[in-house]
């Protein structure tokens, strides 16, 4: 049976869990039903029956065993740690459902249905089942790599121990309607990933976006003006003035609504004109079919961005510097290599010709950019004050984003 080593930084994410045998095929998730927002400060005082479940799982031979509370960051941490160890093929889910979070249903829905294009777990009843902070590849791998052994509401340590034991048997072993055995490591190598941001609500307003003066006005107590307490008529007058302002603003909104309703034809005309505006359409490109063709198509995509960046830099102080010319020369050399590879490739002549035309266009555009490296560096003459970085070099590095497919060996 194939067993492999986990990725070097395994387990990539910290959390409330224990690490056992890295070659075990099972990880245990114990739902931690604690009041919303009480953890992690109270993580030291998790109920003893839950701690017992975590310990029993590890003592029986699980690879990882820990508690889970939140339906977003918590699940993301589990995914990071599981995909780092391809030996883990089962996820035993036990414990009482987490009130308010519905984390258990979220994890089950994730394995069953996955996520949608807004990175929300499909079919989850949780409040915020968003997985924004980990790569999509990791989520995909997690779903492919693991099978869920659903023991939600189960709190009996003996049953959890039996589940763990069944998962690492060499022969198929029946357990509560499942047939479990160790299938060996997942066919692909482990993924090393960790949480990038801690985003729970991506559209959240950032603190700098809030007008502080406006907030102060809201927070100012009704009974105070300029920090001084008002008395009697003063207070009533201030309140009335504010009410009058609100009324005026509401009236303005109402007027806008009435105008819209009174001249529906004009509004409809505006809407029609808006709809008639040409919508941006994606230029149709023939999809590359072979690895070889894809290699050249991807290179061209990279050059498109680099060239645009160079042109923008040429309109700025970089025009008189030495870094942009150096980057342009470097890009030209690389482009020549791509052309040479294209000539040697086994692509049909028609496709070669088409790609060659595009490469020639890029080469022509590069020739139109500065190439005199004898000009002074704009940092040394005091014009470029951005720090140690360099826009021209970083723009050229955009080409490094293309890592697949590798240059075909035939070329």
């Amino acid at each position: 049976m194939l067993k492999v080593s986990p990725v070097p930084n395994y387990p990539a994410e910290t959390g409330c869990f224990l690490r056992g045998n890295d070659y075990s095929p099972v990880a245990v998730v114990v739902l931690l039903n604690a009041p919303y927002g009480t953890l992690p400060p109270e993580v030291q005082s998790i109920p003893p029956e839950i701690e017992k479940l975590v310990r029993v799982a590890i003592e029986t031979g699980a690879a990882l065993s820990g508690t889970l509370q939140t339906e977003n960051i918590g699940i993301e941490k589990i995914i990071c740690n599981v995909v780092g160890n391809p030996n883990i093929r089962y996820l035993v889910l036990c414990g009482e459902e987490v009130n308010g979070h519905n984390t258990g249903t979220a994890l089950k829905a994730l394995i069953k249905e996955g996520i949608n294009d807004k990175r929300t777990i499909v079919g989850s009843q949780a409040k915020t089942p968003y997985l924004f902070n980990i790569p999509l590849d990791a989520i995909k791998r997690f779903r492919e790599q693991t099978t869920l052994v659903d023991l939600t509401r189960e709190m009996n340590p003996e049953i959890i121990a039996k589940a763990v034991w069944s998962c690492y048997q060499e022969n198929p072993t029946p357990f509560q309607g499942f047939t479990l055995c160790d299938p060996g490591a997942f066919a692909e190598t482990g993924l090393s990933c960790c949480l990038t941001w801690r985003v729970k609500h991506p559209e959240e307003i950032e603190s700098w976006e809030i007008d502080k003066e406006f907030m102060m006005k809201i927070e100012e107590p009704l009974g105070k003006a300029g920090g001084e307490t008002m008395k009697g008529n003063e207070q009533i007058l201030s309140l009335t003035k504010r009410l009058l302002k609100v009324t005026e603003e509401l009236a303005a909104i109402a007027r806008l609504c009435i105008e819209g309703l009174e001249r529906p034809e004009e509004v409809l005309e505006e809407k029609r004109l808006e709809e008639e505006k040409p919508k941006p359409t994606l230029p149709v490109r023939e999809e590359p079919l072979t690895e070889e063709e894809l290699y050249f198509a991807n290179q061209l995509r990279g050059y498109r961005g680099v060239l645009a960046a160079f042109k923008a830099l040429d309109r700025d102080i970089c025009h008189d510097g030495c870094s942009l010319p150096a980057a342009v020369i470097s890009a030209s050399k690389r482009l020549k290599n791509v052309k040479a590879s294209l000539d040697k490739s086994s692509l049909p002549e028609k496709k070669k010709e088409k790609l060659r035309r595009e490469l020639d266009e890029f080469e022509g555009a590069l020739q139109g950019l500065p190439q005199d490296t004898s000009q002074p560096c704009q940092k040394s003459v005091g014009n470029c004050t951005i720090g140690s970085g360099c826009f021209a070099n970083a723009s050229l590095d955009l080409l490094k984003l293309v890592t697949e497919p590798a240059l075909p060996s035939i070329v």
Binding site: L294, R301, A312, I386, S395, L401, T403
Partner: protein, 143 residues
């Protein structure tokens, strides 16, 4: 202070040109480009807000504000499909784990100076001490 705004706008000009080029390709349907656009718009709005609060001369301020506005317009005008999704997930983008729009956005990280953060009290004190002692060494960086 003025240099801060100039550098930020230089950076956004390059980023916007690059994003514009990528929007002509499959990135137009991509959530990566949409995210980068949102980031650029937010960043430019922050620059505008800082600029309005700044004490740079009015004429210079107005000129820079015009630049910010035209960059904002360019950012809002980036071509994007009505519905976007990650093109790697849709199996359209096969360049590897990298992402062009996010890579373009990273160009802003080249700008490390000057920061707009207010000078720390400890730095001010260090400068004063150096002045009093007529020290010739540079003031140490305080983190």
């Amino acid at each position: 202070m003025d240099t801060y705004f100039k550098n930020q706008l230089r950076g956004y000009d390059v980023v916007l040109a690059t994003l514009g080029a990528f929007s002509e390709d499959i990135c137009r349907n991509c959530i990566g480009l949409s995210g980068a656009q949102t980031k650029v718009i937010k960043g430019l709005k922050k620059v505008r807000m800082d600029l309005e609060k700044s004490s740079i001369p009015e004429m210079e301020k107005e000129k820079t504000l015009n630049h910010v506005e035209s960059s904002l317009k360019a950012a809002e005008g980036l071509k994007l499909a009505e519905e976007v999704s990650c093109q790697k997930t849709a199996a359209q983008c096969k360049i590897g784990p990298g992402c062009f729009p996010l890579g373009a956005l990273e160009l802003m990280k080249q700008i490390t100076e000057p920061t707009i953060l207010p000078e720390k009290e400890v730095t001010k004190m260090a400068k004063l001490i150096c002045e009093v002692c007529s020290a010739e060494e540079a003031v140490p960086v305080v983190h």
